[in-house]
Every structure is written in structure tokens, then in C-alpha cells.
């Protein structure tokens, strides 16, 4: 008996070799019918023996290709069409949109083996790829994902490629970016002014130039990198000078895991992350064998490492004398990553000695993703290439909500049905170039995701760029979400926490509901609302942002505000060459001149870092805190400094005693790493003390706690706070899929908006009854 069924598969099923997989399954079980991509996913029509269909469906679920991710399979009986064979039919550009946007992934083992096989016709071909690897999101013009709608449309397939592409049994069947040396993209080498450099093999020439100490802009998957030999100190110093990036650590690309092991300590989970198809930069502890140029990551105990993820990266790093390259995003300071060829030669003139380009156009730039393993969990510094825009699944309908994010490390997030799409890392919305980049990517994703523009969500900060930007889009409503509430809601949603929870948010700066700068908060609440249970005592920032760029100012202001004349003397004793300025800071505080008040973890770290002489003037965001954190050893537990809790309307945490003792310790030339460690532990103990008191005050409260905010990248704080709370029977959750920093803000904003929307609906329904 023959029956017919139609099967709808939703999830990440396009651009991942799903149709050839289906074809082969049909072949295996002697089934006839069709398979087709449409806007909803993959549509299969099957005819044959019911038992064979059951086997087919089991395999469909269990043996799907490595890049696919199935969310749902719906099977329904249907009319037989008397199909005589099984065919793959052309994509259908209709249907409602559950369409998944395919993501880029690192070159796979099979392709690498072919690339290294002298007998293969793609031997040494730098753009080899298949259905399981290669470019996707970065080359898409329009959906559904099909070669004519990608930047591969410029490359008509040769006969050999076409044969593979059309052969349903081939692993390159419908691999949209399929290419070979005959028909596909090619590399070329250019000089510093964009002039063509004649060479037999641009790759071999590039390797030679890198070895000679040149700085080369290399076009990769999501944009250009600036590269040099990571062991050549002179080259690294020169790269820093030209890029005007004096101290911020640079990432490196190491040829293989065995090359990584030479530099850093790598455990299994880290190795897995490095070798994953997302291939992020993983921040690792430098090992004792570490021997890169000192300027790659000065004063850091860690190093950001990634493995080659495109075929041409593998070829570049094939030379045993060049096992490690500095690979930093090629962007002039503050601008988005360079990805267009003409921009590369223009913007990078005077920075790059040579350009290694290719002619496959990048349509959507993405920066490398950056993660670390923190207290055993994945901790995203930046979620971009390889992950974006793969959606998260939530439990409520979030259609029509677009969250615009914050000001720095910005991302936007779009909701469709029960899916949450977090966009690529954009950067700081300070320059028009970055703002244009933001709007360009937002426009594309909005078109692809195709939702009604109902609710826009922004941060409450009155001077964030998104406040202005949102007005360019006509949403039915605009909701503002407090910065740290968004941080909290993001983590709660990630873990599907229901009911209320505590949110311990340690952060840089966020605009508070009282017009002060917040960032050291203990909340209790949910996505709809929160109560502020505790926060850090406010201290002045005379000169506002100036205090953030020059943490010594913040430190001096803190001393003056907390300890009056004595603090003034301490400040002058610590910052001996700043007497004049310190007097002026005092005056500014007294007269409230250009002074804002802040109680944030990031600013507290800045101040202590400056008092310790670690970083008094920052050359990049977060430098003072990062450098101070590097000195604390999370394998130890330090002796805390004293602190006070004031129980007014909620707890106020007062670190004035600690600030004074740290200053005295510094003046007494005590060991700075120990001071740093003790400072870290003081924060831990203050939070624990608050939580213990809150438990007594609110015995019926939920025991779920989420930890978020940028300061939770700090390994000591995360590990110790989590451990102490677990010991007291709290359930502790940390962000694992989106950054705890402002890169995760838009996700949280969307969650808050969705919760408020459904709460409003409930109220409405209740009122109607």
C-alpha cells in the first residue's frame, strides 16, 4: 500500500545541505516525491510504503547535517501525485516567514582534506566550501538563500562545479558558494597604494612578506583584518603605532590546536570552542611557554586566540615558520570593520603595507566573535561571526518588537513569532559611519525577517544615539527600558526563569531612574518590573566622561567626596603631580559644576585601579578595570577590606573605609596584586552581606539570582559571587548565550517589552470581563 504525506521542517534547514540530505534519504528508502525550500523552511512531499516513510522521518530527525538545527517537523497526510521519482525543485519565494537566515561557518574537515590533496582539482584552492561550511550570511543579498541572490552570482559555475552542484548525491549538491580555481573567486595582492603586485601565487608572496615583518590587510569572511607576524615585536609595535592603538590586546590566529597549546593553557571545553564551526576568538590564559611578541597583549595574563576559519587562512598559516599571526579587525579607530575593497585601500592607506584581497564581495560585514570560559561557562564578550543571526527561541510571541540596544558595543534585536534574532555586533554609536552601518544592517534584517513595526525599544539614557535613531522608523509605540533591568531580563529569559528573581547587576554606566548613573545594583523582580533592593553609594564624577577617560580624576573625586580634607590630602599624596587639578576637582564638586553622580561597579574599579597606579588614564574602554582584574588571582580567596551597609530605603553599600585603606596601603607600598585581590573580595562580601540581609527581610522571596552586567566578565567576581550564593542555597544563573555586557542589552530590552505587552493584554482582558 502506498501513502502520501507532506512534511514541513522548520529551523535552520536552508543552506546547510538539507535538501540533498533529504534526497539521499528518499533514495535510501525508495520513496518518491519532491523537496523544496520555501519561506517557511523545507517542504517535502513523500510517496511510498508507510513503514519506509516512518524510517525516513526518524532519520530526518536524527541524522540531519551538522550545520542544521531542526525546531519543528510537521507531518500531514496528503493526496498522492503519482510521483515516479524523487526530485529537488526550485525554491518558492512565498509563504509566511519562519525563514532562517543561514550563518557563516568555518571550513570543514572534508573540504580541508580535499584542499590538501594534490590530486584534487581544488588542491590549494582558497575558496573551497561545501554545504557544511563556508560563507552564508556575509554574502546574502536576498532570501531565500540561493546562489543568484548572493554575491556568488558573479561567478558562473564551470562544468565540474555544476556537475557536483546538481548531483543530489554529492556533498556539494546545492552548495550555493561552490567554486573552484577555474570558475570561482581569486586572490590578488596589492601594494600600499592599491597598485597590483605581480606574483605567481599571492598567498606564497603574502607569507614571504609577513615573514619579512610587513603589515598586511587581509580580506577574510566578514571583513578585513590587519595581520603581521605575532612573534615579530617590531612589526607588532609598528602595527599599534599605525592603528593608534597603544595598549588594547590584539587577537592572534594560530595555525592549529598544537600551535595554540604553545601559547596558552587550553582545556577540553576551550579546545572544543576553538574548533567549533563558529570558530570564535577564545580568550585563554597565557601558558609558561608563551613566546609571542610582548606587545601583542601587554600586561595581560590572557591572550585571545582563534584558529584559521577560511581555507585561505589555513593556507596562510601552513608555513611552519609562521605559526601565529596577529589578526585584528582592520578598522580605523572607532569605525566599523572595513569590508569593501575600495574602502580598504582608502581607509587603510598608511596602515597596511600590502592588501591580500579576493573578488567575492562581502555584503554584510561581521566582526569575529569573542568568548572566554568563565567559571566553566561560555562567556561572550562579543557575539557576532558564526553565531549571527541564528535566532533564540523563547516562550512567548515577540512578533513586531524591535529593540534598538544601547550606545556602546551595540546590537539590535528583532522578534518574530517565538524567535529572537540578535543582530551582529555593531560597535559604538558615536560616529556617523557606525550609525550608518547599524541602520544598513537593521534595514536588511528587518526586510528578511519581515515583521510589522509595532514596538520599538530603547534605553532610557536621554543622550544615547538610539533615542534619536528610533524616530526615523515609524513604530506604533516606543518603550524605554532601564539599562540594568534589560541586563537582568536578558539573563532571566535565557534561562526561562519564571516568577521573580534577584538581579545582581555589576556594570559600567547606565542611566538610572533617579537621574544618577547606576551600575552596582541588586534588583528583585521580573521582566515586567523591578524593585531596587540595594545599590552603591553615589560619588561625583566632576567633568562627567572626562572621569571615565582619566580614572585618576574619578579616584580623586571619590576620595574627596568620601573623606573630605583627609581625602583631599590622600588624593594629593597619591597623584603627586596633580595638585592643581585636584583643587579644581574639589571646587567642581562643591559647586556642582559639570558634575554627575554615579554608583557603578565599573567606575569603582576605575578608581581603585587609578589609586593603585595600575591605570590612571585609559587608552581604551574598560582598560583600568581590566588591568586591575588581571592582578587578582581567582584561584585564591583574599581578605576583604571593611565596608558598611546602610539600611535606608533599600540598602546602600558604602565602600568609603575600603577606599581609605586601599589608599593607605598604596602609600605604604603594599603589594598591588594583593590589594586588587582584597578589593575584589570586598565586593563579593558586600554583595553576600546584602543578600543575607535581604533573605531575612523577604523570607518568601524566590531564591533565583541572575548575575549580569559587563563587570561579570571579571573571573574573580563571577566565580566567588556564584560560589558564595550557591553555598547559601540560591540558584545562580549567568548569561551564556548573549554577552553580559551591553552587547546583550537589546535582547533584554526585547524581553522586557514583550513581557510588558502581554501584561497589558492581561489587564485589558481582565477589564473587558
Amino acid at each position: 500500500m502506498r501513502t502520501a504525506v507532506k512534511v514541513a521542517v522548520q529551523g535552520r534547514v536552508q543552506g546547510v545541505g538539507f535538501r540533498p540530505f533529504v534526497f539521499q534519504l528518499a533514495d535510501k528508502y525508495y520513496l518518491n516525491g519532491t523537496v523544496q525550500n520555501n519561506m517557511d523552511g523545507v517542504k517535502i512531499h513523500l510517496e511510498g510504503e508507510p513503514a519506509a516513510i516512518q524510517l525516513f522521518l526518524a532519520d530526518l530527525k536524527n541524522k540531519a547535517p551538522r550545520l542544521s538545527k531542526i525546531n519543528e517537523i510537521v507531518v500531514n497526510g496528503t493526496e498522492s501525485e503519482n510521483a515516479e521519482d524523487f526530485t529537488i525543485i526550485a525554491s518558492e519565494r512565498s509563504g509566511t516567514s519562519m525563514l532562517v537566515i543561514p550563518i557563516d561557518s568555518a571550513v570543514c574537515e572534508d573540504c580541508l582534506n580535499e584542499m590538501n590533496d594534490p590530486k584534487d582539482f581544488r588542491y590549494q584552492y582558497p575558496f573551497i566550501n561545501c554545504t557544511q561550511c563556508g560563507p552564508r550570511y556575509t554574502i546574502i543579498e536576498e532570501l531565500p538563500y540561493d546562489r543568484p541572490y548572493t554575491s556568488m552570482k558573479e561567478f558562473p559555475m564551470c562544468e565540474d562545479c555544476r556537475r557536483e552542484y546538481e548531483d543530489p548525491t554529492n556533498r556539494r549538491h546545492h552548495a550555493q558558494p561552490i567554486a573552484c580555481p577555474k570558475c570561482g573567486p581569486k586572490l590578488r595582492l596589492l601594494g600600499s597604494h592599491g597598485e597590483e603586485i605581480d606574483s605567481e601565487n599571492p598567498l606564497i608572496e603574502t607569507i614571504k612578506l609577513l615573514k619579512e615583518g610587513n603589515i598586511i590587510a587581509i580580506k577574510g569572511l566578514g571583513g578585513y583584518h590587519l595581520c603581521c607576524d605575532a612573534r615579530n615585536e617590531r612589526a607588532v609595535v609598528e602595527l599599534r603605532r599605525r592603528k593608534k592603538r597603544p595598549l588594547r590586546p590584539l587577537a592572534v590566529m594560530a595555525a592549529s590546536i598544537s600551535a595554540v597549546v604553545q601559547l596558552a593553557e587550553v582545556d577540553n571545553a576551550e579546545s572544543e570552542l576553538l574548533r567549533s564551526s563558529e570558530a570564535p576568538i577564545v580568550v585563554l590564559k597565557k601558558s609558561c611557554k608563551y613566546e609571542l611578541a610582548p606587545s601583542v597583549a601587554p600586561n595581560m595574563g590572557t591572550i585571545g586566540v582563534m584558529l584559521p576559519y577560511t581555507p585561505h587562512h589555513h593556507l596562510l598559516l601552513a608555513d611552519p615558520e609562521l605559526p601565529c599571526l596577529v589578526m585584528t579587525s582592520a578598522n580605523p579607530s572607532g569605525l566599523p570593520i572595513v569590508f569593501k575593497d575600495d574602502e580598504a585601500t582608502r581607509y587603510l592607506e598608511g596602515i597596511a603595507d600590502y592588501f591580500l584581497m579576493h573578488n567575492r564581495e562581502i555584503l554584510h560585514p561581521v566582526d569575529d566573535s569573542v568568548v572566554q570560559l568563565n567559571d566553566g561557562k561560555v562567556d561572550f564578550f562579543r557575539r557576532s561571526r558564526g553565531y549571527v543571526p541564528d535566532p533564540f527561541t523563547t516562550t512567548s510571541d515577540v512578533t513586531g518588537i524591535v529593540a534598538f540596544g544601547g550606545q556602546q558595543k551595540t546590537t539590535f534585536t528583532i522578534g518574530r513569532n517565538e524567535q529572537i534574532f540578535v543582530g551582529p555586533h555593531i560597535g559604538d554609536l558615536e560616529n556617523i559611519e557606525t550609525i550608518d552601518h547599524y541602520q544598513h544592517e537593521l534595514m536588511h534584517l528587518l526586510t528578511w525577517i519581515d515583521i510589522p513595526k509595532e514596538t520599538a525599544v530603547i534605553d532610557t539614557h536621554p543622550y544615547y544615539q538610539v533615542q534619536r535613531l528610533v524616530k526615523e522608523y515609524n513604530f506604533l509605540e516606543v518603550i524605554e527600558v532601564q539599562h540594568h533591568h534589560a541586563h537582568m531580563a536578558a539573563c532571566m529569559d535565557e534561562h526561562q526563569l519564571s516568577g521573580q528573581a534577584y538581579g545582581i547587576i555589576l556594570d559600567g554606566t547606565g542611566y538610572g531612574l533617579d537621574g544618577k548613573i547606576w551600575g552596582f545594583e541588586i534588583f528583585y523582580g521580573d521582566a515586567v518590573g523591578f524593585e531596587r533592593m540595594a545599590h552603591l553609594h553615589y560619588t561625583p564624577l566632576p567633568g562627567s566622561e572626562k572621569c571615565i577617560r582619566e580614572p585618576w580624576r574619578n579616584a580623586a573625586a571619590m576620595l574627596i567626596a568620601l573623606h573630605g580634607e583627609e581625602g583631599l590630602d590622600l588624593a594629593k599624596a597619591i597623584f603627586t603631580d596633580k595638585s592643581l587639578e585636584i583643587n579644581i576637582l574639589k571646587m567642581m564638586i562643591e559647586r556642582n559644576l559639570n558634575t554627575v553622580y554615579a554608583g557603578t561597579c565599573g567606575r569603582l574599579f576605575d578608581a581603585v585601579s587609578a589609586i593603585c597606579g595600575v591605570t590612571t588614564v585609559a587608552s581604551y574602554d574598560g582598560e583600568a578595570a581590566i588591568q586591575l582584574a588581571e592582578l587578582a588571582n581567582e584561584q585564591l580567596i583574599y581578605q576583604p577590606y571593611p565596608f558598611n551597609l546602610e539600611d535606608t530605603n533599600g540598602f546602600t553599600i558604602d565602600f568609603s573605609k575600603m577606599i581609605k585603606e586601599i589608599s593607605m596601603d598604596v602609600l605604604a607600598s603594599k603589594d598591588i596584586p594583593t590589594i586588587s585581590g582584597r578589593f575584589h573580595e570586598t565586593i563579593v562580601q558586600a554583595i553576600v552581606a546584602v543578600m543575607v540581609r535581604l533573605e531575612k527581610k523577604k523570607p518568601m522571596a524566590n531564591k533565583n539570582v541572575v548575575l549580569s552586567g559587563g563587570s561579570f566578565h571579571n573571573r574573580y567576581l563571577r566565580k566567588r559571587i556564584r560560589a558564595e550564593l550557591l553555598q547559601r542555597d540560591f540558584n545562580v544563573y549567568v548569561p551564556e548565550n548573549v554577552p553580559c555586557n551591553d552587547g546583550g542589552l537589546s535582547y533584554g530590552q526585547l524581553v522586557v517589552a514583550a513581557a510588558k505587552r502581554s501584561a497589558n493584554k492581561c489587564v485589558l482582558e481582565y477589564q473587558q470581563k
Binding site: 593608534k244 580605523p332 579607530s333 572607532g334 569605525l335 581607509y347 544601547g406 550606545q407 556602546q408 558595543k409 558615536e430 560616529n431 556617523i432 559611519e433 550609525i435 539614557h461 536621554p462 543622550y463 544615547y464 544615539q465 534619536r468 556594570d507 559600567g508 554606566t509 547606565g510 542611566y511 548613573i517 564624577l541 566632576p542 567633568g543 562627567s544 566622561e545 572626562k546 572621569c547 571615565i548 577617560r549 592643581l580 587639578e581 583643587n583 579644581i584 571646587m587 567642581m588 559647586r591 559644576l593 559639570n594 558634575t595 554627575v596 554615579a598 565599573g602 574602554d621 559587563g710 555586557n741 551591553d742
Partner: protein, 333 residues
């Protein structure tokens, strides 16, 4: 005569009469119209320009000027940038009980001086005295009347490539006032730029073509004024950080206090946007005047689709500038 203003100076009686006579008429002259009721004056047929502005400033005397000079120059400049020739002013005083009469005389003297220098008559006035604590020293309101003499003005139509000029260094007034308030704890040798620009701007209008707009970047500074133009006329402007004329001392003070000279007040500067080919001519005229000797081109109109003000930084990026908005809360995380 009394040394301090008392409430009786405002009651319309004998003391009021003496105050008007000794302080105001003494300086402004009694002319036919100076009866301090309603003045009647002649104006030529055509369009007139009217503007009004109230002046409250602390301190009342500052290096390079006083509230009196400011009250005249400020209103004259508002008329001048709109292309009118200032001819008449009226003034109203709100004076706090106890204010030194000698100071009031100095202020009125400054007003008279500035008016005389610029060829403007002060034709009507009013004085009110309020109880101690109800005002801070003295507030002045001036209303200015100007006439459109030339049959050409600002076109208010922009083209890509138009040059953006500023008539001199920015932020001087803001810093001078901060210094005079003693908020720096150090003395800064900087004078307010407070000055009337009417003659200079009239000559620019008269002898060049293609002036698109003129504005005086007072409160909110150069950036705020340019943002307003950009938004009002939907033009994108780019100014270059390295071309901004800023005195060393102003830079120094901004560095100490975390201020940005782009947002500091000016009281004797004009922004002129003019057709590219006319910019040298405008510069030549400006530079002949002491108030315009540091005039420079700081940028240009680069587009007409979005009303943006961009600041090209030495790093090569283009910062999007917004108007000044109260305290600048930090955005860096």
C-alpha cells in the same frame, strides 16, 4: 544720592524720578524721545525686524564686558545676523533691592557706550525694583528694532559645497564667565568676546553674494547653533576638528573641567554659510574688523538628505554631534 537701590526707587515717586534722571538720562541722553513712556520714532517704509532678549548673567561684570554691554550687543547681533540694520533699542530693568547704584551706573554707561559705538538709539525703558532675594542683582531685557536697508539678504537656500565660516575663536565668553565666577580656582587671562557685529556683517552682506545664512552661536555654543541650522534646513554639514579656532587657554580650561569648546557660549561671533566661490571674499571682509580677525572656514555642507552635523576628528572618523542638553551624562560604559 543713595548708594543702594531701595524698594522706593521702584514706586514711581520721587526716588524713581531721581534714579531715571541721574542714572538713565545721564547716560542715554534725554533726547526728545527719552521720556520713558512711549517713544515715537520715524522709520523708513519697508520691512522691519524686531527681536527681544532677556539677560541674566553671573557675574554682572566679567573680563571683556558686563551685563549692560551684553544686553545691547546681544540684541544688536540678533538683528544683524538676520540681515537687518539695528536702529532702536528699548530696555527694561528688574533690579534687586540693595543693588549698588554705582554698579547700575556702570552698567547703564556700558549700554550707552555700546549703543553709541554701533549707531543705535535707546528710545524707551522701564525699571522695576523687587525685594531682596526675589532677583539676583539685575536683569535686563532689551528689544531691538532693525530695518532691512539692503535689497538682498540671506537666501536660506543651501548647496552642497557651501562653506561654513566662523568669525573667530570659540568658547571665549563661556570660559571668561567661568573664570570670573571663580569656578576655576585659577585666573585665566581670557576676555569675553562680547561685541556688536552689525557693521561687519552688514558689509559682508553688501559686498558679497551667496550668503546662505548668518547666526550668532550664543548659548549652547557653535555645535548647538549648527545642529539647529542642519535640522531646520535638512542639510548635512561637516566641520573639521582641526580647523576649529580655539584659544590655547580655552583648550586648557576645557581639559580641566571636561567641557567641550563646541558647546561653550560666544557673545561676539557669527557663523556664516556662504557659496564656496565667495568664501575668500567674505573672509577678507571679516578679517578687516578686530572682531573678525581670526575668521576661518571650518567646514562645508556635504549633503542635503539628512539634517546632520558631523565633526571630522583627527582619527578620520565623523562624530555625529547633537545639541547641548543640560548635564552631559556619560555614555561610556
Amino acid at each position: 544720592m543713595e548708594k543702594y537701590i531701595s524698594l522706593a526707587h521702584g514706586d514711581g515717586g520721587e526716588l524713581s524720578h531721581r534714579l531715571i534722571k541721574d542714572v538713565f538720562i545721564e547716560s542715554f541722553g534725554d533726547g526728545d524721545s527719552a521720556l520713558f513712556d512711549a517713544a515715537s520714532v520715524d522709520i523708513p517704509v519697508g520691512r522691519i525686524a524686531v527681536t527681544t532678549d532677556s539677560f541674566v548673567i553671573k557675574p554682572i561684570f566679567f573680563p571683556g564686558g558686563s551685563i549692560g554691554k551684553l544686553a545691547v550687543a546681544g540684541t544688536i547681533n540678533d538683528l544683524a545676523v538676520s540681515g537687518a540694520k539695528p536702529v532702536y533699542l528699548t530696555c527694561g530693568f528688574v533690579i534687586e533691592e540693595g543693588f549698588p547704584i554705582l554698579d547700575l551706573k556702570k552698567i547703564v554707561h556700558d549700554m550707552a557706550n555700546e549703543a553709541k559705538k554701533t549707531g543705535v538709539s535707546i528710545i524707551a525703558g522701564d525699571t522695576k525694583v523687587v525685594e531682596r532675594g526675589s532677583a539676583d542683582g539685575v536683569y535686563i531685557n532689551t528689544t531691538g528694532i532693525g530695518i532691512y536697508e539692503l535689497n538682498k539678504g540671506c537666501s536660506l537656500e543651501f548647496e552642497e559645497g557651501d562653506a561654513i565660516l566662523v568669525s573667530g575663536t570659540i568658547g571665549d565668553h563661556g570660559v571668561a564667565v567661568l573664570g570670573a565666577r571663580g569656578e576655576l580656582g585659577i585666573t585665566v587671562p581670557i576676555n569675553s568676546d562680547c561685541a556688536s557685529l552689525n557693521r561687519m556683517l552688514a558689509e559682508v552682506l553688501e559686498h558679497t553674494n551667496g550668503v546662505r545664512i548668518m547666526r550668532d552661536p550664543t548659548r549652547g555654543g557653535l555645535a548647538t547653533t549648527l545642529v539647529e541650522i542642519a535640522e531646520d534646513f535638512q542639510v548635512t554639514m561637516k566641520i573639521n576638528e582641526l580647523d576649529l579656532p580655539v584659544r590655547e587657554e580655552v583648550h586648557g580650561v576645557c581639559d580641566l573641567l571636561g567641557f567641550d569648546p563646541l558647546y561653550l557660549a560666544n557673545e561676539g561671533k557669527a557663523i556664516i554659510i556662504v557659496a564656496q566661490q565667495e568664501k575668500e571674499k567674505v573672509l577678507d571682509i571679516l578679517r578687516e574688523y578686530p572682531e573678525g580677525k581670526d575668521a576661518v572656514v571650518i567646514g562645508s555642507i556635504v549633503g542635503k538628505e539628512k539634517g546632520h552635523l558631523l565633526l571630522e576628528t583627527p582619527l578620520g572618523s565623523k562624530r555625529l554631534l547633537t545639541r547641548l542638553s543640560g548635564t552631559m551624562f556619560p555614555r561610556i560604559c
